[in-house]
């Protein structure tokens, strides 16, 4: 992974959309209406950036490429589920991305020194846990989509479709608190706000329901995991190697 330092640095930069959004929010004083001070909002978006960096998943694209290239067949013979392989790749890349994310955070604090804060250890631990759970949810959803490759071969377009609600509803571009009431009434039943909004609120010290959020994350994992196992076993039965 360390061989691709420039790649990973660029990827870290490509995640800076939350900072642009922060700029729109504070520059137009939009946060006054949702009772969030500039400092809290900037902490929120910084945390959203961090959570996003450590929960990005691209397993669909790897799996689609491997299955189109016929690399899945040798993986299937091995006694390990190939998704463990992708899982390990994701974890390794997250660790390599950590220093770059820190550098970006460092620059962020130079420009916004008043938003510097140190979360206490308990909160830090809980937010790392919830970021990891958010990563697990996204990994499971994408793995389910990736299994569609067994039927359609081009599953990445489904993933691009699913990415749209993730982008707009997860809190990456605007905190969920600011959403209109007709959206807030149902959004907490979907997995989206637990992907970025919940861990970011937790880490930045904004108001959030800690036990409720964590249990919803765990609930979604328990719902998605059997679904993944089911679609995986169906898919592998259906699978025929290329050229057979």
């Amino acid at each position: 992974m360390l061989e691709y330092r420039v790649e990973i640095a660029l990827w870290a930069i490509s995640g800076i959309i939350p900072f642009f959004m922060l700029n729109i929010w504070t520059n137009n004083n939009l946060n006054e209406s949702i009772n969030l001070s500039d400092v809290m909002l900037s902490r929120y978006f910084l945390c959203a950036f961090f959570v996003r960096q450590f929960s990005v998943v691209w397993v669909v694209f790897s799996f689609e490429e491997d299955s189109l290239m016929g690399k899945v067949s040798p993986y299937l013979i091995q006694p390990l589920n190939p998704f463990f392989r992708y899982f390990a790749q994701h974890l390794a890349e997250q660790i390599t991305r950590f220093p770059f994310a820190l550098i970006i955070a460092f620059f962020f604090f130079i420009f916004n020194p008043e938003s510097l804060w140190i979360p206490n250890l308990g909160i830090l631990f809980l937010s790392i846990v919830s970021t990891f759970l958010s990563f697990l949810i996204q990994f499971l959803i994408q793995s389910i989509v990736a299994c569609l490759c067994f039927w359609t071969e081009k599953a990445s377009s489904v993933e691009r479709l699913l990415f749209i609600p993730t982008l707009f509803l997860s809190g990456l571009l605007a905190p969920v608190v600011s959403f209109p009431a007709y959206v807030k009434s149902w959004i907490y039943l979907t997995p989206f706000p637990y992907l970025i909004d919940f861990p970011a609120n937790l880490l930045s010290g904004n108001e959030t329901n800690i036990s409720g959020g964590l249990s919803m994350q765990i609930l979604w994992i328990f719902l998605l995991f059997p679904l993944f196992k089911k679609i995986w076993s169906e898919g592998t039965k259906k699978y025929t190697a290329m050229g057979s």
Partner: protein
């Protein structure tokens, strides 16, 4: 350059790539739903911004919708032409098949920039046009000949700038081989084009008009639609677009000197 020959070749490109893309019919449907949802999503985001404010950076909600419409059209153009072709360049260079392109008795930039087409982007362009027509109605814009020609000029300049940006990054593949992530960076910067430039702080505004001219891509055409744009801004956009086009061409020819095929 023989224009007729190029037109004829382009017709063949269109035919072959449409035929191959239509093999994936459900894909096109999924892409259409994606385009619609993404437009709905960004209008939703915009409505959050305008929830308690009448103006953002001096733009009303109805006016900001024009920017969304132009962004959608340009994004559709990106998805139809730039994205499929320029990701192909990366493949050409990595696998060494660029040799075959260079050997052809046709301009290499023409070939690699227009070879492929992705029909699902058309639907996005149409979606953008519908939104634009709707905006023209709700903003009560009078259609006159000078207005139409000015907006046509600015939008085509935006397309040129956008093309050059994409082409620049893909050209760097000759040195760096892998540029997926550089493309991701460009994509995330282009995302800014969904919002009026004035809604950003001064330093970002400078950054987005000098270093990466995203400001020119959507804001100036939208100002033309609202009749707010001064003539000098349009002139600057024309100059920027031609500078970008010429440098991207020069850069491609320069980069080709460094191309040494795969495994050599």
């Amino acid at each position: 350059m023989n224009l007729r020959k190029y037109l004829k070749v382009y017709k063949k490109f269109l035919h072959t790539s449409l035929a191959s893309e239509l093999e994936y019919k459900t894909n096109i449907l999924v892409d259409l739903i994606t385009a619609i949802l993404s437009l709905v999503g960004s209008i939703f985001l915009l409505s959050i911004f305008f929830q308690n404010n009448g103006y953002i950076g001096g733009w009303k909600f109805e006016q900001a919708l024009i920017i969304q419409a132009i962004y959608t059209i340009l994004n559709g153009i990106t998805n139809t032409w730039f994205n499929p072709n320029l990701t192909e360049i990366v493949k050409h260079i990595r696998e060494g098949t660029l040799d075959f392109v260079l050997l052809k008795p046709i301009d290499s930039q023409f070939f690699i920039s227009l070879k492929k087409i992705n029909p699902s982007g058309f639907l996005e362009i149409m979606l953008g046009f519908f939104l634009l027509l709707f905006c023209i109605r709700i903003n009560q814009i009078n259609l006159s000949l000078s207005f139409l020609s000015l907006s046509l000029i600015t939008i085509s300049c935006s397309i040129c700038i956008l093309y050059s940006l994409w082409f620049f990054i893909s050209t760097t593949t000759i040195w760096f081989v892998k540029t997926w992530n550089a493309i991701e960076v460009l994509r995330s910067f282009l995302y800014i084009g969904r919002f009026p430039l004035n809604s950003f702080s001064f330093s970002l505004r400078i950054f987005f008009s000098i270093f990466i001219p995203i400001a020119f891509i959507t804001t100036i055409p939208s100002e033309v639609f609202l009749g707010l744009s001064q003539l000098w801004k349009i002139l600057v956009e024309v100059i920027v677009a031609s500078v970008f086009l010429i440098t991207s061409r020069k850069f491609w020819l320069f980069a080709l000197k460094f191309y040494s095929s795969a495994s050599s």
